[in-house]
Symmetry: C2
Subunit: 287 residues, 2 copies
C-alpha cells in the first residue's frame, strides 16, 4: 500500500519503520527535519507526503498539531481525494477528532482515529494495541496495517470514540502510577525497603504493566523519558477538558493534575512521567 | 501444631479452616458467637482459645479490636508464656502493631505481623500472600502455616513493617480502582460502550488483578461485598494517620478519602468498595 506517515516521534518513527519493513511504499514527514526512516522516502510537507497515498497516517503531539498537519499551510487537505483514509494515532480531544473527521469526510475521504497504547518498545516490536474509532469498512481496509504495527486492534465505535477510550486508558495509567508513587513514599518513610515493596506489588493483584515497566526505573531513580511527563500532563488536560464539556467530575485526576503541574514547575517536563514521584517525596521531606 | 485462631470474618474463617484441614489442632474464637469452622474446637474467650496454644493467630477488624483481643478482659495476654508466637493478620496501624509487639515480647512470647493480600477466594483456596514483619526465627517456625493458607509470604523486615507495607498495598488498590471508576464514568459519558472499555483495559498494560476481579461485577452493577467499603475506608484512615505521623503527604489518597466518605453517607458502607464508582457517577449526572 502507498502510505504517508506524518510525525516521527518516539512512537511514530518505529511505526513508520514497521510499515516500510512490511513492504509498503512509505513516505514520511516530520515537523523538524533530519529524521530518517529505513526504507521510506522523505517529504518536506504533509501535502507532499500525502500526494497519491492510499492511507495518510498521523502520529503527532497534540490537537493543534493534527489540525495544522491536516488543514494548515501545505496540509493534507490540499491533496485529499475520495478513497483515501486518514488515520490519526495521536492522542487528542475526542470532540476535535470528530470535527476533523467531518471535515475530511466532506472531501470524500474517510477518517479513522486509532490512538495507541503500548510503550516505545511496543512500537519497535510491533506489539501496540490500537484503540479504534471509525467506519467498519475503512477499519477493515486498515487491518493489515494494524497487524504490522500492533498485536491487536479494538474497534470501540464510530469516529472520536477511539480517542475517548484512549484518554480513559491514560487516566487509569496516571492514577495507577500516582498510587504507586504515594505508596512508595509512605512505606519508605515507615522503613520498608523499596525493593521489598516492589517485590510485594509484583506478587500481588496490584501488579500491572504499569509497575512492571516503571518500578525498576523508579528504584534506580532513572527518569529518562519513555512517556515524557509533558505529554502525560497534556493528556491529563485533555481528560479534564473532555470531562468538563461532558459534565463529568474527576476528583482523583484533578488532584493528580496538581502533582504534574508541580513537576513541570520543578523543571521535570522532559523526564518520564515517573518523575512525578519526586513531588510526593519533596512534600514528604524525602528528597 | 496447636493453634488458636481469633476472628472468623470473611478472611479469618477460611484461613482457620485451612489450618484445621492440614491437621493442626485448631481452637477458634469470634467476637460474635455462632460461627463454626469444620474440624476446629470453639472457645468462648480469646484467653480460653489461646490456653496451651503454640501459635495465636488473629484476623480481626481493626487496631482497637486487636488491642481488645490481646489485652482486654479475657484477653490473650492472660495466658501468654515464653515460646508462644502471636501472629496478627489484621490490617492495623503500623505504630500500634509495633507497640503490641513490644507488650507481647515483654511476656517472653514473640509477635509477628502478617497481614494478607488476596481476596475471600484466595483465603478459601489457600492462595493468600502474607506480608510479614517479625524475627527471622519466628517467621521460620510459621513457614508451614503460611504454606497452608497462602501461596507466598514475603518478610519485609522487623515487627510493624508488615503492616506498613500492607497499607501501602491497599493504598495502591484504592487508587487503581479510583482510576477505573473515573475512566469508566468519563468514557461512558463520551459514548464508549462500557464492555469495550473493559476489553481495552484487559488487553493493555493497565490490566491488573484489581480490574480482573472488579470489572465484571461493576459492569453488572453487582456490589455485593467481597472487600467491604467500610473496611477499605478504615484502611484509608490508617494510611492517612500513618502518613500524618510520618510527615508524609498523600494528595491523591486524600481526595479518594472524600469519595469514600460520600459513599458512606450514601448508605453504601456494607457494599463492596467498588460501589464508590456511584459517587463519581452521581457527581457526573450518570445515575
Amino acid at each position: 500500500m502507498k502510505i504517508a506517515f506524518l510525525g516521527l516521534g518516539i512512537m511514530g518513527r518505529p511505526m513508520a519503520a514497521n510499515l516500510a519493513k512490511a513492504g509498503n511504499e512509505v513516505t514520511v514527514w516530520n515537523r523538524t527535519s533530519g529524521k530518517d526512516v529505513p526504507g521510506a522516502k522523505k517529504a518536506s510537507t504533509p501535502a507532499e507526503a500525502a500526494e497519491g497515498a492510499d492511507v495518510v497516517w498521523m502520529c503527532v503531539a497534540d490537537t493543534k498539531a493534527v489540525e495544522q498537519v491536516l488543514f494548515g499551510a501545505n496540509g493534507v487537505e490540499q491533496v485529499l481525494r475520495p478513497g483515501v483514509i486518514v488515520v490519526d494515532s495521536s492522542t487528542i480531544l475526542p470532540t476535535a477528532s470528530k470535527e476533523f473527521a467531518n471535515r475530511v469526510r466532506g472531501k470524500g475521504a474517510d477518517f479513522v482515529d486509532a490512538p495507541i497504547t503500548g510503550s516505545k518498545i511496543g512500537a519497535e516490536q510491533g506489539t501496540l494495541v490500537f484503540i479504534v474509532g471509525g467506519s467498519d469498512e475503512s477499519v477493515k481496509k486498515l487491518e493489515p496495517l494494524f497487524a504490522v504495527m500492533g498485536k491487536q486492534f479494538i474497534r470501540v465505535g464510530e469516529q472520536g470514540l477511539g480517542e475517548a477510550a484512549k484518554i480513559g486508558m491514560n487516566l487509569m495509567i496516571a492514577l495507577i502510577y500516582e498510587g504507586f508513587a504515594e505508596a512508595l513514599t509512605l512505606t519508605t518513610k515507615l522503613g520498608v525497603p523499596r525493593e521489598k515493596l516492589v517485590e510485594l506489588v509484583q506478587a500481588s493483584m496490584i501488579r500491572s504493566g504499569v509497575t512492571d515497566y516503571k518500578a525498576p526505573f523508579v528504584l534506580k531513580k532513572d527518569y529518562s523519558p519513555n512517556f515524557p511527563l509533558r505529554l502525560m500532563h497534556k493528556d491529563i488536560h485533555l481528560m479534564l477538558d473532555a470531562a468538563k464539556a461532558a459534565g463529568v467530575r474527576l476528583p482523583g485526576l484533578e488532584k493528580v493534575e496538581e502533582v504534574y503541574a508541580e513537576s513541570v514547575k520543578a523543571g521535570w517536563k522532559d523526564l518520564d512521567f515517573a518523575a512525578t514521584v519526586g513531588v510526593i517525596e519533596k512534600m514528604s521531606g524525602l528528597s
